[in-house]
Symmetry: C2
Subunit: 449 residues, 2 copies
């Protein structure tokens, strides 16, 4: 194992290429530093649109972009697809899973968060969450297969099976998933099936807290619930899930049938936070000061969901905008530190432009703070949502193809990309391997009836 | 289990929704029959462009279309995502894996073929073949990861690792894969890496028979080899692979290093051929007469790769065109049989328009038979290939998006869709689960060096 030799220029390592890491890297690309970006994946994912991949409106390639292509214009940035295995803050070195050791002068940690099943890790298989492109493909597979299985059951038994979808968690992701399932079942799938009626599908959101979209103002919460109900989505608040099984969810003693259960209830920070060996909060987010440094380490920056940053007495939320701003701030601060001009830099301050969540095909709620203050709901909020999301997609190619797919799907109500890819196993699906199948078929007496 | 009740109209069951099955179904949609299409997958795959998904030029959604959306304009067609488990020719019934029993008056079997590893089924994991969207995604993952791993190795060790790709099989698929790997390594990936030089990658085609593109005329075979060599692809004919292992391929005692091995050497017919209980050839293809029926069963049609149909003393090849023509013929014959006008129908005859294979970004070989006879190679053949393939894609949406992606990739040499999705395991990649990682990192003494 050889160490990376010390260059003349300061070395910056960015761990994680989500919103925080990518924005830091693009800013560092302009500075006289040598940058290494480390990520386990080869692509940056535009997470706010991931639910549209899950709902077969967009393809993975529409919302994910290889990290190398985003950054290949910057000659001072190298990318390695790897994982951090250990951090030594004293010698300022990282060890990666491949064995590579990276020395750094400055370190930006932006490894984000993952699903939290609140100690019930066995729920992960029963109710997948939505963080990665693979998650989105898996959710798409399960939702589409639920309709396929219902059609098969009806062909076999002659009775219409129930089609109840359950989304656990009433934050933006849960609301978006539920609205989209309702949409595709009522608008896009009806003409595809001869036996079942996809429009009888019901969707239920189970939220543990007292409100749907808890982070939004009261009036938008109410509008969101109204719009969800208009789509036929049921919402139950104050409902703590106590058990998830194949085909059902339990709230205490009450059993709710579910052909497909999705998880949008909680996230936990990346374990790299604790591994840094600095002060973390109860959840494991790293407490950072006004310059996004953990105490005593002005050379380490923590950005995005992994950072616990307090502003006006409240923790800045773990969403895309603060992560992007933090990444940019950290990179700029490194530039100022290098040139000895950091003393005058203002503290980091999250500039809140607002939040948005779509509810189905043509409604949304938007808490707008900038460039003017307003709480919008309905169609105007949805148009705003569309515009902002296309604008923030990285890469012209993606913007163009996303716009085209949306026009295709929303305006002309045409087919999305309803491919079922991956395993075709489903409960009750007695799948046979080809050979086994051939062997059985080769027997002369056929087991018909 | 209830049987499907006997309707007034003849019932036709189509098994398999590849080129044969889909073309049969679209023709049956116009007839006074009730049709059930059975397929294990929810989508029809345009296999001639699958290698472009594998090579990150196209996305799965560009070349695959849900069977339901292709057929949803025909009210007399139902689709079920299921698998045939048993066929009873006497009572004219099929049993599906779900337990559903389908009665038929006419049956079209078009379940195609799958990879054949000539008895070495353990090679499947070491050298994936290309038949499905999942195969394409897996090949893409392996090819892209080979470059990522080389970059990591160079970052760690400082020496440039070899980048040899081996494609086993010199038919159209092997030639297309090899040409495309050469292209992406030389044209698209060079600006993405800081340490390795992707353009030093070598690609080798190993073919067991004496010629590359054995089914093509001699002059086109020679042109193809010329064009492959111009791209830096090595070709070895008469080379029988005797062993495949992690990182190598053996021809007798000779060991060839390989960072990624792909299989394009052989196919075998679906086991449903033998399961029909009619006469099959040595490979397992069903021997069919001039009306595509197995002997003694005028109500059963076998179409596409699964059929062994002799014309002018030769077996019609297992490619898209004959399958499409067979599917259409079988459906038309069913129409004539129903209306009592079948006696005058001509025997099936494959109308051979020609064959084409691309060789990289702007060359191809084309054996054109219709509308005029010519053997073309080079750029003109490539333009012909482009035109024909866009024209035959089912669905305007797909044609449009494929055209756009090609323009993007070929004309402007821009990024394709180089996403690595799925497992990130690779030989030598010591991957750690998050928890294990956290546990290791939490220990205070760090194992650096």
């Amino acid at each position: 194992m050889s160490e990376v030799t010390v260059g003349r220029r300061p070395r910056v390592v960015v761990v994680g290429a989500g919103f925080g890491g990518i924005n830091a890297a693009m800013e560092l690309g302009k500075l006289p530093v040598d940058v290494t970006v480390v990520d386990r994946r080869n692509h940056h994912t535009f997470q706010p649109l991931l639910y549209q991949v899950a709902m077969a409106v967009l393809s993975p390639a529409d919302i994910a972009q290889p990290i190398r292509s985003i950054l290949n214009g910057f000659n001072n940035i190298e990318v390695t697809m790897d994982e951090v295995q250990a951090i030594d803050k004293e010698s300022k070195r990282l060890k990666l899973s491949s064995g590579t050791v990276l020395a750094y002068d400055y370190l930006i940690v932006a490894t984000g968060s993952t699903h939290s099943y609140f100690g019930h890790d066995d729920w992960a298989k029963l109710a997948p969450g939505l963080k990665t492109v693979e998650d989105a493909t898996e959710i798409r597979r399960r939702v589409l297969l639920a309709f396929e299985l219902a059609e098969r059951q009806m062909l076999e038994t002659g009775t219409h099976p129930p089609l109840n979808f359950v989304v656990i968690g009433g934050g933006p992701t849960g609301v978006e998933l539920a609205g989209a399932i309702s949409d595709i079942s009522r608008l896009y799938m009806t003409k595809d099936f001869r036996h079942i009626d996809p429009s009888v599908a019901t969707v239920m959101i189970l939220e543990g807290s007292p409100a749907i979209l808890g982070a939004y103002p009261k009036d938008l919460q109410e509008k969101a619930v109204e719009q969800l109900h208009a789509l036929g989505v049921q919402t139950r608040t104050g409902s703590h899930v106590t058990e998830i099984g194949e085909g059902y969810v339990k709230i205490g003693d009450e059993r709710i049938e579910s052909v497909c259960t999705l998880w949008a209830a909680g996230v936990q920070p990346s374990p790299l936070g604790k591994a840094l060996g600095v002060e973390v909060d109860r959840k494991g987010c790293v407490l950072v000061d006004e310059h996004l440094n953990p105490a005593g380490h002005p050379e380490i920056f923590v950005c995005g969901d992994l950072a616990h940053f307090e502003q006006d007495g409240k923790q800045v939320p773990g969403v895309a905008q603060p992560a992007m701003q933090m990444g940019k701030y950290a990179a700029q601060r490194i530039g100022l530190l290098i040139s000895g001009r950091a003393a005058g830099q203002k503290a980091f301050r999250y500039f809140d432009k607002g939040d948005m969540a779509t509810i189905g095909r043509k409604a949304a709620v938007a808490r707008i703070v900038w460039p003017f203050k307003a709480n919008w709901s309905g169609f105007m909020a949805w148009i705003t949502w569309l515009t902002v999301h296309v604008f923030f997609l990285i890469g012209f190619r993606n913007r163009f193809s996303v716009f085209r797919e949306w026009a295709w799907t929303y305006i002309w109500k045409r087919d999305g990309v309803r491919l079922i890819v991956g395993s075709q196993d489903l409960p009750g699906w007695d799948q046979l391997a080809d050979k086994e199948l051939a062997a059985r078929q080769a027997t002369s007496s056929l087991p018909l009836d």
